[in-house]
Structure formats: structure tokens, C-alpha cells
Amino acid sequence: MDAMLQEIVAKYNYWIYVVLMMIGFYAMIGKSNLVKKLIGMNIFQTAIILMFISAGVKKGGGIPILDKQAVLERGVEAASIVNPLPHVLMLTAIVVSVSVTGVALAILQRIHGLYGSLEEDEILEKIDR
């Protein structure tokens, strides 16, 4: 019981984000409307971004914005500042997510113009005919 509680306290942030990822994943494969699939992909990407940010936290650490004078005089210890590398990589990931959503919405407009509907099974039977 004690070991299980310790496991839960050590890992529960990853579990929350896995649940959010699976919600987005179900929306991507289980819904038949194309816009709902796109929103599922957006939820998935957001869950990944949040998981990386939460994996870089250090216990008792401060934010990665330092005091210039104090650091130039005394130096800074790496264990007291939160890991800045996931923040940097996730800025790029957010911009990629926005770009992919924009391009996907443009393609969805063209699909709607060509086939008249945004439901996956109606489009598939119009293609097969």
C-alpha cells in the first residue's frame, strides 16, 4: 500500500497526460466527422506539450528567468532552476501545431467544396462510386 502510494505520488502527472492523450486519440479514430478528428489531433498535441513541460520540473526549483547582477557576481546552481530545455522545444511544437491546424482547415474547406459534406463515410462512398 505504501509502495503504491509512493508510485502514485511520483508518477501521477504522467498518468493524467496519458489520459488526455487517449481522449484525443479516441477522437481521432472513433469519430466520423473530419473536423472532430482535427480537434482530436489538437488535443493530442496539447497533451504531449504539457507532458514535456511537466517532465522538466525540479523539486523546489525556480523559473528560468534570473537576476543578471546576482548571477554575474555569484553564479547560479543548476539544481535550483527548472530545466529550460523542454520549454524551448515546446515553443516550436506549439507553432507546428498551429501551422498544421491552419493547413488542415484549408484542405477541409476544399474537401467540402468538392464533395459537399464533411462526414467520412459519405465522402468514402462518393469516392468509391
Binding site: K11, F25, Y26, P64, L66, N83, L85
Partner: protein, 90 residues
């Protein structure tokens, strides 16, 4: 269809939750992600660049190449949307 989707989602979720057994505990300062290049960035960035914000210094100076391609990615997204949607007025 929905039942198959739900089953595969639950199976993938179970696999991922089993995989989190190997992750470092939350808030561990000795995690592998915080060891190789990240202490170098924290300790050296203010004296190398005189910029107090470590995230901006890493994004635009140490990893400036990635940010350049990031800007090109968002520019290409704009170009793609223009070329997919705009028609010459007939």
C-alpha cells in the same frame, strides 16, 4: 467501428501507463533530461549572452538554427493556405 476504436484506445492507454513505470519520479533533479546539456545552458547563458531569460537565450542563440527553420515552417504554412484556397477571379 466505435467499439473497435474504444478497445484500441484502451489498449494503447494501458501500454503507455505500463511504460510510465520506467520514467524518473516527478521533480527529480537527477533525471536524465536535466543532466547533459541543460546544466551547461543554465550556468553559462547569462555570462555568455547577458540575457536574463534563459529560455529566450537558448531559443534564439544556442538553438537559433531550429528557430530559423521554425519561422520557415510557419511561412510555408501561410503559403500553402494561400495556394490552396485563393482562386484567380474568373
Amino acid at each position: 467501428m466505435k467499439k473497435r476504436a474504444l478497445l484500441s484506445t484502451l489498449f494503447t492507454g494501458a501500454l503507455l501507463l505500463y511504460g510510465t513505470g520506467d520514467f524518473p519520479p516527478w521533480g527529480d533533479p537527477n533525471a536524465p533530461a536535466a543532466r547533459h546539456v541543460s546544466p551547461l545552458y543554465i550556468e553559462k547563458s547569462v555570462e555568455d549572452t547577458h540575457v536574463p531569460n534563459i529560455v529566450t537565450a537558448v531559443l534564439a542563440d544556442y538553438r537559433g538554427y531550429d528557430t530559423m527553420f521554425e519561422t520557415i515552417v510557419i511561412f510555408c504554412a501561410g503559403v500553402v493556405v494561400v495556394s490552396a484556397l485563393r482562386r484567380p477571379d474568373a
